[in-house]
């Protein structure tokens, strides 16, 4: 009785506490930038209402809602992008967009192509989430201005800016398995006029403890240490001219494999790069300008997989010269020339498998392009972007790539988009499929050749902003990617499953490869501070097989569907933030040789599995503390390494990964932000 009385009194007190007066100011919609609308609310992910392409934006808040040690992990709460491991020994992460491997998604660093070639397999691990301000994921073929390599979509990374008034940012986090992450950033404005500014970015992460939770004798995650740094500069002239330049370096060592056996991996990656971007206005109004983008990247990958080695070097240069004109309000023109030059030096030290080889390859792509953009007079109702590229590819001649994007918003509540066009890229068979090195199988086919992959992607999107709201919407999209040429890889096409075969699509009789992708997104704010998003994705990926064992043409190791529920609750003024993400991950068809392995996959499919993530953040003036958990259902793929007890046999295969390798993980971290102040 006494307890009840006390509870009653406490409840009475709570009711009687004065309710803070809330501003009655309506949500800010005057600013046309999505960013401006969402910055106050701290939304993690949202579909942009204003972009011409169907674009999902992961904001700084989204990048803080999980451990987000690196770019790969920042996609965990997105249904558009599926994140997985390339194999069970190297720790390399890969993404899928529209049901296709992430190599077909063009990665941009503030509109410069990055993570190409050798950088692709580990590139996602090398972009610290805390270096980023936001990520934009655009589905379908994108602007011709950034090259022709976007086939299923484009992911643009916006880094912390030199103009950010944050002279010091520090983040440190640690997981219960000793995985440690440390980031530092410093943005400095160097003169009162605001002409010169720079940002220094530093990163270290490491995994110090070897663990083998499933007792297969192999480390769950490799021992690893990674350092990276970047320095970016910005010059802004009073006449509207801008110069941006910067450097970047990465050093990463990772040792995995058996805890106490002879089969180990030792991978050493290094990267150095520099870039320059300059924009010069040609008139006072800056409605006409020229721009130059130049980028150089050196990449080294030395990969020792005990039974074979792959040591490779890559020098890449990218040059883009643009002329832009929007003298007439509704009509924008861009004309340009581009050059992409890649030099690869690849050592295939296959030993007992196929012998050794050293192959030097030069890939050259010279392009000319034009793009016309029409916006209706009100700039929002209708827009059309028509682009055409003519690219000369060394050994392949000239290819034309038309692209079209349409957007129609008949009212505040509806946005319709359609998009289609061609994408082209040179394949890098080994680095695109790094998992094949973690097997005991013989590699067959033209895996040293860099064939020109060729695809067409078409799709559309309809979004209903309920009641004209920017925050409550229902969206549906469909995209199809059809390859005309692709390097197909089939694991175990023969009955002995002792080989992995590479084959160009056009070398197969009646060859085909396509993916249909459907997605539904729903987002709402039922209460102030509470954001709910629900996303469902279904993928139908089909391809012609190299071998004859397959019973159907469903593409193996590609998840059929995924559903994601994100809930975020932030108290008033974002002092407490609670994040929760639940996903259900659909089955993948397995390779034929996996059927029945240790009694698993007898129906030819992997099981459906759930994943849960949760995080609590407490924010104070100048610093945040956060505590979270990953994979809270503790679901792990059972026996991810086939024949782990016989690593020198032809059956050994660590590349058949479809689920989580790590169980439940708990982490804690701190973010310290020092804002620039002035003396009064």
């Amino acid at each position: 009785m006494q307890h009840k009385t006390i509870l009653f009194l406490l409840a009475g007190l709570c009711v009687l506490q004065p309710v803070p007066v809330r501003s009655q100011e309506p949500p800010e919609k005057r600013d046309t930038l999505d960013q401006a609308v969402f910055v106050a609310r701290g939304n993690a992910n949202f579909l942009s209402k204003h972009k011409d392409l169907r674009t999902e934006v992961i904001t700084a808040a989204g990048l803080c809602k999980m451990a987000c040690c690196n770019l790969a992990e920042s996609f965990e709460n997105s249904a558009s992008v599926t994140v997985g491991y390339s194999d069970a020994v190297t720790g390399a992460r890969q993404i899928r967009l529209l049901g296709q491997n992430g190599i077909y998604t063009q990665m941009l660093d503030e509109n410069r192509p990055v993570m190409r070639g050798l950088a692709a397999p580990f590139g996602l691990n090398y972009v610290p989430g805390q270096w980023l301000e936001s990520i934009q994921i655009a589905k379908g073929v994108t602007s011709v201005v950034n090259g022709v390599e976007s086939m299923t979509g484009q992911i643009n990374l916006e880094h912390r800016k030199p103009t950010d008034e944050i002279p010091l940012f520090v983040q440190a986090s640690v997981m219960n398995d000793t995985k440690t992450d440390f980031n530092v950033a410093s943005s400095l404005q160097l003169d009162k006029e605001g002409k010169w500014s720079t940002v220094f970015l530093g990163h270290f992460d490491g995994n110090f403890k070897e663990m083998d939770h499933n007792d297969d004798g192999f480390m769950d995650d490799p021992r690893q240490r990674q350092f990276s740094f970047s320095n970016r500069w910005l010059y802004q002239g009073f006449d509207g001219s801008q110069v941006r330049f910067g450097v970047r370096g990465i050093a990463d060592n990772r040792q995995g494999g058996q805890m106490s056996g002879d089969w180990t991996t030792d991978i050493r990656n290094s990267n150095l790069g520099a870039y320059l971007k300059a924009g010069i206005p040609l008139n006072k109004e800056n409605t006409s300008n020229i721009a130059l983008v130049a980028d150089y990247t050196w990449y080294r990958m030395d990969g020792d997989f005990t039974t074979r080695r792959y040591d490779a070097r890559q020098h890449s240069a990218f040059l883009n010269l643009l002329y832009q004109n929007h003298n007439v309000e509704q009509h924008h023109f861009t004309l340009g020339l581009s050059e992409t030059l890649d030099f690869f030096r690849e050592k295939y030290l296959w030993g007992a498998f196929n012998g050794d080889a050293l192959i030097n390859t030069t890939l050259n792509n010279l392009g000319a392009f034009g793009e016309y953009t029409f916006h209706s007079a009100d700039e929002t109702t209708f827009s059309a972007i028509v682009g055409l590229r003519a690219d000369w590819f060394k050994d392949n001649g000239v290819r034309f790539s038309p692209r079209l994007t349409l957007k129609w918003a008949p009212s505040d509540s509806w946005v319709f988009r359609a998009n289609g066009g061609r994408g082209l890229r040179y394949s890098n068979p080994i680095s695109d499929n790094i998992g094949v090195l973690s097997t005991g199988k013989q590699l067959l086919g033209p895996y040293t050749e860099h064939i020109l992959e060729d695809s067409w992607t078409f799709g559309g999107n309809a979004t209903w902003y309920i009641g004209g709201s920017s925050t409550t919407y229902l969206s549906f999209d469909y995209f199809r990617t059809q390859f005309r040429e692709q390097m197909l890889v089939e694991n175990g096409p023969d009955s002995r499953a002792s080989s992995i075969v590479f084959s160009p699509l056009t070398a197969l009789k009646d060859g085909y490869s396509y993916t249909d992708n459907f997605q539904v997104d729903f987002s709402t704010e039922p209460l102030e501070g509470l954001t709910l998003t629900l996303t469902g994705r279904f993928t139908n990926a089909r391809q012609k097989y190299v071998g004859t064992l397959a019973e159907d043409d469903i593409k193996p190791m590609t998840s059929r569907y995924k559903g994601v529920l994100n809930a975020q609750y932030a108290t008033h003024l974002n002092k407490w933030i609670f994040d929760f993400t639940a996903s259900i991950n659909g089955p993948c068809k397995v390779w034929e040789f996996m059927k029945g392995y240790k009694g698993m996959y007898s129906d030819g499919w992997t099981p459906v599995y759930p994943l849960l993530y949760a995080q609590v953040t407490r924010r104070f003036k100048g610093f945040d503390l956060y505590l979270g958990g990953e994979n809270l259902t503790n679901y792990r793929q059972q026996d991810p390494i086939l024949y782990a007890d016989q690593p020198f046999s032809t059956g050994f295969d660590a590349s058949c990964v479809w689920g989580p390798l790590m169980g439940i993980r708990v982490y804690g971290g701190v973010r310290i932000t020092l804002w620039k102040t002035v003396k009064e």
Binding site: M1, Q2, T5, I6, F8, L9, G12, L13, L16, Q17, P18, P20, V21, R22, S23, E25, E28, R30, D31, L33, Q35, A36, V39, A40, K161, T163, D164, E165, H572, L573, N574, K575, R619, F620, K621, G622, T673, W675, K676, T677, V678, E680
Partner: protein, 97 residues
């Protein structure tokens, strides 16, 4: 039982009384400021929100104003204006209620 009920009632009365007596007074001040960018808005929100006594903050970029609701017993317009100026933005009061 009677004794405990009486005690609870007395405590309730005292708490109700003190609650009414201690009711904080919230004020709203609107500053004309120099905030004109998304980054500026973020900087103001991330800093002023955590100042003692601040109950609500909003920034209107197009009007270039910062509106703050605060507990009068914990802070005042001088402190808040100073905090805005320390961040590098102007802070001229245009409305106070």
């Amino acid at each position: 039982m009677k004794k405990s009920s009486f005690l609870a009632g007395a405590v309730l009365c005292i708490l109700l009384l003190s609650s009414f007596m201690a009711k904080p007074v919230f004020r709203k001040v609107v500053y004309a400021s120099t905030v004109d960018c998304v980054g500026c808005k973020k900087k103001v929100m991330e800093n002023i929100s955590f100042n003692r006594g601040v109950k609500d903050v909003s920034v209107d970029l197009s009007a270039q104003t910062v509106t703050i609701v605060f507990d009068e017993s914990k802070t005042d317009t001088v402190v808040l204006g100073g905090a805005l100026r320390k961040l590098g933005y102007g802070a001229k009061i245009v409305q106070y209620e």
